[in-house]
Symmetry: D3
Subunit: 286 residues, 6 copies
Amino acid sequence: MSASAADKAAVLVEALPYIRRFAGQVVVVKYGGNALAGASDDDALSLFAQDIVLMRQVGMRPVVVHGGGPQISDLMSRLGKVTEFRNGLRVTDAETVDIARMVLVGMVNPQLVSAVNVHGPLAVGVSGEDAGLIRAVARDPELGFVGDVAAINPGILQGLLDEGFVPIVATIGTDEHGQAYNINADTVAGAIAQALAAEKLVYLTDIEGLRRVVDDPSSLIRQTTPDELDALMADGTIAGGMIPKVESCVAAVRAGVRRAHILDGRIPHVLLLEFFTDEGIGTMVR
Amino acid sequence: MSASAADKAAVLVEALPYIRRFAGQVVVVKYGGNALAGASDDDALSLFAQDIVLMRQVGMRPVVVHGGGPQISDLMSRLGKVTEFRNGLRVTDAETVDIARMVLVGMVNPQLVSAVNVHGPLAVGVSGEDAGLIRAVARDPELGFVGDVAAINPGILQGLLDEGFVPIVATIGTDEHGQAYNINADTVAGAIAQALAAEKLVYLTDIEGLRRVVDDPSSLIRQTTPDELDALMADGTIAGGMIPKVESCVAAVRAGVRRAHILDGRIPHVLLLEFFTDEGIGTMVR
Amino acid sequence: MSASAADKAAVLVEALPYIRRFAGQVVVVKYGGNALAGASDDDALSLFAQDIVLMRQVGMRPVVVHGGGPQISDLMSRLGKVTEFRNGLRVTDAETVDIARMVLVGMVNPQLVSAVNVHGPLAVGVSGEDAGLIRAVARDPELGFVGDVAAINPGILQGLLDEGFVPIVATIGTDEHGQAYNINADTVAGAIAQALAAEKLVYLTDIEGLRRVVDDPSSLIRQTTPDELDALMADGTIAGGMIPKVESCVAAVRAGVRRAHILDGRIPHVLLLEFFTDEGIGTMVR
Amino acid sequence: MSASAADKAAVLVEALPYIRRFAGQVVVVKYGGNALAGASDDDALSLFAQDIVLMRQVGMRPVVVHGGGPQISDLMSRLGKVTEFRNGLRVTDAETVDIARMVLVGMVNPQLVSAVNVHGPLAVGVSGEDAGLIRAVARDPELGFVGDVAAINPGILQGLLDEGFVPIVATIGTDEHGQAYNINADTVAGAIAQALAAEKLVYLTDIEGLRRVVDDPSSLIRQTTPDELDALMADGTIAGGMIPKVESCVAAVRAGVRRAHILDGRIPHVLLLEFFTDEGIGTMVR
Amino acid sequence: MSASAADKAAVLVEALPYIRRFAGQVVVVKYGGNALAGASDDDALSLFAQDIVLMRQVGMRPVVVHGGGPQISDLMSRLGKVTEFRNGLRVTDAETVDIARMVLVGMVNPQLVSAVNVHGPLAVGVSGEDAGLIRAVARDPELGFVGDVAAINPGILQGLLDEGFVPIVATIGTDEHGQAYNINADTVAGAIAQALAAEKLVYLTDIEGLRRVVDDPSSLIRQTTPDELDALMADGTIAGGMIPKVESCVAAVRAGVRRAHILDGRIPHVLLLEFFTDEGIGTMVR
Amino acid sequence: MSASAADKAAVLVEALPYIRRFAGQVVVVKYGGNALAGASDDDALSLFAQDIVLMRQVGMRPVVVHGGGPQISDLMSRLGKVTEFRNGLRVTDAETVDIARMVLVGMVNPQLVSAVNVHGPLAVGVSGEDAGLIRAVARDPELGFVGDVAAINPGILQGLLDEGFVPIVATIGTDEHGQAYNINADTVAGAIAQALAAEKLVYLTDIEGLRRVVDDPSSLIRQTTPDELDALMADGTIAGGMIPKVESCVAAVRAGVRRAHILDGRIPHVLLLEFFTDEGIGTMVR
């Protein structure tokens, strides 16, 4: 027998118990445009879509959440829309939120749906407006239609999961008057993971993981706890764009999500490796 | 007893048997932007949304299909996109179909979803790309990404209807490579009605109904048959933008949809009047 | 558009939310022979039957309870049976209760069943003896077989309602030895409404409603509470034959029936008007 | 071990396979007032009721059908109602059918229901008018409201059987206008057995069984066929009141009822003996 | 009517309520090789099998548990295996437990299965190793593989009962390493009765029942309680091989099994007589 | 990223679609004692058991069938039982079939059950006598109780599979009198695969696969058809102990089993490699 067959058998013996353990479990994956810089974007999107399909095929229930900041900025500039600032913060006026909705719901979301569906008609695009999925509140009246999550009404997601589909969520919410709001996608991913009592919440990023010392690659955090992360945010070790991700991990784990992960989306098939092998990848919170 | 109470009782005695008859029945409604010119657009959209919600509440299963040609043209001009013509026909290149998708899925569709959902979280936006709903084929390679319906895969709609939702369908389809196509919404409405074995297919228009003599209002057709409509199209009485509607009515009724209607969307609550009263409105095909 | 069509639309917009709200709800209606004096009896019975059928068709679950005092007296006199009195109260001996049973179960009940069933085979006559529906206890041994309700065993009614039937209940009960008793139909209606956790309990009478001042038509009570009704019975404002009705309303509302109504059965389609319009009719207790 | 215990064991070994075989099977039993002359009526009714309850308890699905001719005559005479004859046949006018209904539905039926229900709340009285059970047609316009069975709509019986109840059927039918008719109970029993695809149809009579020679007790027919019975009716051996029973047996067996029985209702527990032992009793048709 | 028919009817009237009462109830029957000495073994086994089949056919859910000590000893001697003793107790070494398993699972169990299945394919042999049914612990390391019951995992039995089968249990258990142990069948029967929340636990023995005075046949105990049995074991009245049976009866009744019985298996059809008649047989604990 | 992670990802991408394809599919595996000669028996049995458990855990429905010829011979010689021959063929007398049953049901079967159950309580031993699984007929009266398969009654297997268990089948059958027969396990495996409409039938052997030229290892048959196998048996290329396996493969594939395999049981994890990788192993018939 070839060495290769023995190796394959070893991988299978390693993987099959994980496949059983995660069958039927909900996993919320936040997909960020910057996460896949190690490969051409198309290849990265294609590998990601393949992983999602394979996860679904072996019985997991993935939910994908995405944002699209760069694409929104791009369309705004093409339309000659100038962003207004108030006290140094960007104001999202009615026209801006309409553009954001058009980009997230009408451009980024269909790209992800399409990438998954070349493998089989599994993906369904969902806006936070559909079936009242995301109820929003204004974060600050001065800033216009930038929202926070007031409540998640996950019925539409559960229905789609029960029928075997993969929901792809664009993060537009609405208030009780039907007004749309643009909401941070990292925050939405965490809120949905809580509402669905997910087994896992995963952020695909373009970093290797969290570090205990910012400039020291050897200080990569393999496993951590909500308490340690609170401390690292308090002392400024974790800062900037990582804050919404880390806050959401902390809140989700405290609310009952079993594990949250910050993974390096540049690694091909990083989701399969994390879920179905003994490899330790990125940072795990529990 | 006041006359008013007696009148109310009479309307109820008239309406309740219809409500029973249509409970559980699928009705596909094509909503066109021009249909509601008799009132301010916002009011018209609000009345339409209210009718859809009431229909759902008494047990019908409405599916809404919409296009958005004027809105696409508008965004194209704002983006400075010049339409190319070949042999006098407009060419839909890759950038154009991306803009169409952005407008239909990201702008028009959420407006309808939002209008319905102020009455309750019932509406769910669906693109023809979701779960492989609309499989498209190119109409003519020279024209680029203008598609015809190759097949409807109605699973996602049936699932949403079974869970009590109102699907709102944007008419983007995909071919087997995941390429998006823009498809005529009148045609899609008819194809979906067939695939769902709908009880009724309804086109909301801005005309009173079909006429046997174009310039004679008194020749309004109350009831007709597929055969008569074939003749009226053959002799040119029915022409222009009515063709896709009438062809779809003919095909749907021949394929088993019980009745198709061309209704005047300018009449407030025209759907309720048509479904739940003895009033004869517009043109009915059976 | 004609005014009539607009009026119809308005009635429908008013009615449809009620139809949804009451779908699946149990409504117990006490039908009294005197309730319909404003019209010829046959017409009144026919309108009543039509209302019951329409209610059932749009998903409500009506239960009809009836008595039949005048008809019992009539047969007794035809049979030459003389009523015995003891201390001024009528004695129901064995022969009398057999006659009462024969009239209620064998004459009045089939008339109601038949009136409903000309609209469709929905009505099923039920005696309180069937499946142990009404367990009775003697009210006073001196009076013979006049009973009070000891317990309601509603299984047979729930089974019939689940299968889409309309139970029509004759108010004969039995004790544990199988002895039949004649029981006040107003009381039975209230007890059944409680046992079925009905949404509504309705008494069809031949008065406009309760009054705060007996001789003042302008003192008609639109809405009231159990406490106010207790007071009106205590001070004698409510008296005589209204007592069992009002006591049953009070008890039913206190036990969880959402609303009890005393309606004027002489108004055509009074049930439809009360349930499906904003009209305020008669007296409502909550 | 006592002889008695061995005997008991033998009876059980004999009975248990029958109990299994008949579990879930529908048996239609025609109960006639004259059937039980061998004992005081009350005792006979009580034994009959006990048998029905035991059959139900071990999983059979008995349906009881009854008439009540003598009781109708009795009430008519008490009411001073004189029967009109036309060409020697009794005319059932509107008043007469009302009396018949009152007696069958309001007097005889409740007696049977009550007799069963002292053993447990299993029996439910059903009139042929309930839920459209018996559709009648006039036998002969000259005779008034004497009906034949036009159709059986057994839904109400199946519903009651599925919920574990024992239906007791009074044989009043209605035409499409809601007019009541009196129908021969032997005929109704056979029609219901056919409509329910019963395993058995049983007539309880006051004779030992059918005979091949009228005056020869030794000619008792143990087993026979529809063909032989046709012959015995043709040559007059079977005549009079036995005709509707025998005709119904013949029709039921030909329509798929497995066995029909004419049993001597004077034998205590004749139903248990027939169903659960090897004893041959009365006449069996197959 | 012959006396015999009346007798049969009386037995049926006596038996049918028991049949109803026990329908769906689990009864665990310990079958011992010595229990049936009053008849040739084959006949006794055949009668026992017939009783089990009849019980199942009328809806009871019997579970049979058996041992096989004599048969184990016999095969050991045929194989020339000499039993080792330590401190006067028999040691069950690895070879001995393999022989015990071979005899119980491969010889005695199939004999019982086969005896039942000549009446219909109902019996399924189950070893305590199947699906982890019996988890064992060593009673005393010195004695080798003699086990006590650590836990019962009754899933496999419930599954078989739900599908209408009769499980026949051989009393081999396993520890967490998969090592087999031989376990006392009386003890296993009691533990399974508890785990299944059985209605009854029955020991078939070759004695008439328990006695209050060992040598006095007139002191046979008809009914007793766990407390009295504790006392009789404490004072030595109950001793020897009866101890595991009586201890199991006491524990089972205390744990919720409604009744435990020690019956004389030599009486033909003793199970039918005990379950379906008023006869008092053997000793009942409650 | 390490090469190892990339390799793992590649194996997973290869395996997951197979896992999905085979989820819910029945696979019948014939396990032969000689199949695993490449490793110590204990290790081989343990690896086999692990594969079976992993297959079950990812949703396949494996059924194991085994024989035990060498073990039967061994016990017969230990018991001094001399085999009788008639016309050169071994006679299986009553004592011999009892020994065979004892070995197969009581020794080999529990060993397999136990090996599986150390990984979880999944395995359930089943004899062909249980629930009438294998109905046997004598092959030749002169040879005694050697049987052929007359019919498979797979209810007990389907029940166990539906509840998530792994049936392990010992190949003893019975005739209609309850007489046991010893049946060739290769034949039983094929018959069960047909009766369960299995996806696959697998024979684990101690050869690499079938060859087109007996002595030429390079002539290993990778894929073949029933027709080619018929030819190879006709010309004697396939002979001896392979005949029942090959005949069963041919019959099973012709009867609708999708694929049959003859695999080299000496390769560790050969089942996982065959089912979940692109490796070509042994001989496949389709």
